[in-house]
């Protein structure tokens, strides 16, 4: 599948400004460019929308307020009022992942979250904060998370082992969920777009037949936009739930 319609080539990282310091490659790549664009657009939108704090909000200010309330309600429902001290973290994660996913939907733009290292960095940051804050706030009482109440004593070691395993799988599943959803969506889009090209090259009957993969590509693009928003929401709500486990350990 190494021809012009190759679906893997879109994920290649290319260096825009090669920088090497002490043997370490610190180049400014296309991934870094789109991360900077995400931060600029996200913070620019929020700053511009709330520049004049009117009591009766304009449309811009209202949309920023709706975004704020949406994430605040999600975090408060999942982690309680004490969890609200993590609101900046959850809101930043949500907005960054949402904008990074949505930027990937434009043609020729690079999708930042389609690389496992990016999503793994975000996910290990979240789990690191959960573990660190859990021990800092609860001491060794944090380990009560692994001992569910109401379990008969003789199967307790087995249940604790399973609970520890399921906790360890959290950073893995959190990162792979976002990464694989975005990767699979973009590969599928590229494959169907490749069908349009391949059929279109077959003459008049081919061009008529190429309408079908074109319609499918349009439908898939709509689905991918939905997945982009949904995965950002799922990352935010799982972060909130894991933070709840750090604040109130024990079932």
């Amino acid at each position: 599948m190494a021809d012009a319609t190759d679906p893997i080539h879109q994920f290649e990282i290319s260096e825009i400004v090669p920088i090497e310091i002490g043997g370490v490659n610190l180049s400014f790549t296309n991934s870094a460019l789109f991360m900077v664009a995400t931060v600029v657009v996200g913070s620019g939108f929020l700053i511009w929308a709330t520049m004049r704090r009117r009591l009766v909000p304009t449309r811009m200010q209202s949309s920023a307020e709706m975004l704020y309330e949406f994430v605040a309600n999600t975090l408060r429902d999942a982690a309680g009022s004490e969890g609200m001290k993590f609101f900046s973290l959850v809101f930043t994660l949500f907005l960054f992942i949402l904008l990074a996913n949505l930027f990937g939907m434009f043609p020729y733009f690079f999708t930042v979250t389609s690389h496992l290292i990016v999503t793994a960095a975000l996910s290990f940051l979240v789990i690191g904060i959960v573990v660190f804050y859990g021990f800092w706030r609860n001491g060794f009482g944090f380990l009560k998370l692994f001992v569910p109440s109401g379990v008969p004593v003789f199967i307790l070691p087995f249940v604790v082992f399973i609970e520890v395993l399921s906790f360890i799988s959290r950073p893995i599943s959190l990162s792979i969920r976002l990464f694989a959803n975005i990767l699979a969506g973009h590969i599928t889009l590229k494959v169907f777009a490749g069908f349009v090209i391949t059929l279109g090259g077959l003459g008049a009957a081919g061009i008529a037949g190429a309408i079908l993969p074109l319609i499918m590509t349009v439908a898939l693009t709509a689905l991918e936009v939905l997945v982009a928003v949904l995965q950002a929401y799922v990352f935010a709500i799982l972060t909130s739930l894991y933070l709840n486990d750090a604040i109130h350990p024990g079932h």
Binding site: M1, I8, T74, S173, I176, R177, F179, A180, N181, L183, A184, I187, L230, Q231, Y233, V234, I237, L238
Partner: protein, 80 residues
């Protein structure tokens, strides 16, 4: 058969078997939405309040199917 061809064949067969995992995830997703619909028809007033949990449950279940797709893609495109 030499190693290259045998490995390519093994990768292709493994990718095909990984699609069974995606079918199972499809059953799970259908189960979530089916339960939500049957409960929503019985109690329409309470349905909208649970929409957030519906979407969350859908995303977590679909993730498992996507993990399976990831294995298939790794086998096909990543020489391992």
């Amino acid at each position: 058969m030499e190693m290259e061809a045998a490995q390519a064949m093994g990768n292709a067969i493994g990718a095909g078997i990984a699609c069974i995992g995606m079918g199972a995830a499809g059953i799970g997703v259908g189960s979530i939405f089916g339960n939500y619909l049957s409960a929503a028809v019985r109690n329409p007033a309470a349905a909208d309040g649970q929409f957030g949990r519906l979407i969350f449950g859908f995303a977590v279940t679909e993730a498992l199917g996507i993990f399976s797709l990831l294995i298939a893609l790794l086998l096909l495109f990543a020489n391992g």
